[in-house]
Subunit: 266 residues, 2 copies
C-alpha cells in the first residue's frame, strides 16, 4: 500500500494535494476542523468541530464525528468533489446529481491529510441471510415442524411476494412469511395481506398463514392470533448448524443448483 501523509501545509497547498488525489481516485482521509451544511432530500447544518472526512476511490464521501457508528453527513457516491479556498477557509463541495444533493464542508483548519493507493479485490461472503433460511426451509419444511409440500418460493401475489407457498398434509394452502429477526406487527400485517390476497384470488377460505421467525413481540403475537394466523418459532442455532453441514457437503459435491430458479421454472 502506497501511503502519503501531509501535515503543516497551507490551505492552498492542501487544496492542491486533495484535488489531485481525488482526481486520481485515491483513497483520502482528512482530519479537519470544519462546519458542514447539507441540502437535498433533507437539510442540515453542523457547527464547527473536529472531524474525519473519508473520500473513497469511487468518490463516496463520509464525514465522521469522533463518536458513533453513523457519519454525520455523507454522499453515497458523489458526481463532483470540488475544493476551493475562499475567505481563509478550505471549502469542499460534494455533489450528487440524482437526487440533487450537496454537502458543503467549510474547513478552518486541516490537521492531517492521508492519501493512499488501496486495493481490495477480496470476496465478501455473508451467510444466515433470509434468503438462505428461506431456501433451507423450502428444502426441508419439517424444520418448522410442519408436514408441508413447498410449491413456490417468492410467489407473486397482488400486494407483493410470498416467501414460501405450499400445501399441508390436509391439502390446505399455506402461506409463509419469514423473518430472520424478531417479528413485529409489520410482519404480521405483511402476512395478513398475502393471506387475504391468496384467499381472494383462489376463492378459497382454507388458507393458512404462518409467520416464521426466531421470536415475536407480544403485541404482534396477539394481533396475529386475532387475525387467525399462526406463529412458528425458528431455531436459528439449529438452522446454522444445518447450513454449516450442508455447506460442507456442498463444497464436496460442488453442486451449483439455484433453488429459486428451479422453483420459478416449474
Amino acid at each position: 500500500m502506497n501511503v502519503r501523509v501531509y501535515q503543516g501545509l497551507s490551505l492552498g497547498e492542501y487544496r492542491e494535494v486533495l484535488e489531485k488525489a481525488v482526481r486520481e481516485h485515491k483513497l483520502v482521509l482528512v482530519l479537519t476542523t470544519c462546519s458542514v451544511d447539507y441540502e437535498g432530500r433533507g437539510a442540515s447544518t453542523l457547527g464547527e468541530g473536529e472531524r474525519v472526512i473519508i473520500i473513497k476511490r469511487d468518490w463516496a464521501f463520509l464525514i465522521h464525528r469522533p463518536n458513533g457508528y453513523s457519519p454525520v453527513n455523507w454522499q453515497p457516491q458523489s458526481s463532483v468533489i470540488d475544493f476551493e479556498v475562499e475567505g481563509g477557509l478550505l471549502v469542499i463541495k460534494a455533489v450528487r446529481s440524482r437526487p440533487r444533493e450537496i454537502v458543503t464542508v467549510r474547513a478552518s483548519d486541516v490537521s492531517l491529510v492521508v492519501v493512499a493507493d488501496m486495493s481490495d479485490k477480496a470476496e465478501f461472503v455473508e451467510y444466515v441471510s433470509e434468503h438462505e433460511i428461506r431456501d433451507l426451509i423450502a428444502r426441508n419444511p419439517s424444520i418448522i415442524g410442519e408436514e408441508l409440500k413447498i410449491t413456490s418460493i417468492e410467489k407473486p401475489v397482488e400486494p407483493g411476494f410470498v416467501d414460501l407457498y405450499g400445501i399441508d398434509s390436509n391439502n390446505r394452502i399455506v402461506v409463509i412469511e419469514l423473518k430472520r429477526v424478531t417479528a413485529t406487527k409489520e410482519a404480521v400485517n405483511q402476512l395478513h395481506r398475502y393471506v387475504v390476497a391468496v384467499k381472494k384470488s383462489l376463492g378459497r377460505r382454507d388458507v393458512r398463514g404462518i409467520l416464521v421467525a426466531p421470536s415475536i413481540t407480544k403485541s404482534a403475537l396477539e394481533y396475529l392470533e386475532r387475525l387467525g394466523l399462526e406463529y412458528k418459532q425458528l431455531n436459528l442455532k439449529q438452522l446454522r448448524r444445518i447450513l454449516e453441514e450442508e455447506k460442507k457437503t456442498k463444497s464436496e459435491k460442488k453442486s451449483g443448483a439455484n433453488l429459486l430458479e428451479f422453483f420459478r421454472k416449474r
Copy 2:
C-alpha cells in the same frame, strides 16, 4: 487537534500504540492489509485486502473498503476492543455484548496508524424531517387543501401511531399518514391498518384515510383507491418555504425576547 502518525513499526509496536490509544478513548485510524470475520446476528467472512479501520472515541468500530458508502464490517459500539499479535498477525477483536457479536480482524500488514485527540461539541440541526412537516400541517391543515381540525398528533391506535388525526368539515373522522418521500404500498398498508383500527374502535364507518406524500408509486395509488383511501400530494418546496419563513419569524421573536431579558437585567 493533537495528531500522531505512526509508520514502519513492528506489529508488536503497533499493538502497543493501538492498545494505549483505545484505552485512552482517542480516535484511531488504521490503514491495513487484513481479513475479517464476523459472527453474531448474521455471519460473514472477508478475504485479505487493503482497508481503513476507524475506531472512534466511544469504541464504535468501522471497517471500510476503498469503495462505497457502507462499512463492510462494523460494531456500532464495542464493549471490548482487544489487540493481540498471534502467528505473525495483528489480531483485533471488537466485541459487542447485546446482541453478542464479534468482529475479528487479522492484519498481516499495517501501513499507517493515526491517533488523534478530537473534540466536537457542535450542534447538529436537521430539518425538513417528517416531524417538522407533521407539525406544520397540524398547525395549518389547509396546506393539504382540506378544511380539517387536527385533534391529535401521533395518536396511539391498536396497531401503531396515527401521524395526524382530526375531523373534517362534514364531521367525519380523518386519519392521516404522512411520508416525506414517495409513498409505496407499505405506506398505503400502514394507513389502511390505522383506518381499520379506528373504525373498529369507534364503531363508525365514516372514517377517511388520507395518505399525504410528495409522490406515490402507480401501484400504490391503485391499491389505495381500491381500499377506498385518499391521496393528497404534498408540495415540499412550498413547505420548505413556509418553514423557512416561520424559522425567521421565530428567531426574530427569540432575539426579541433575549433583548427583553437583556434590558430587564440592566
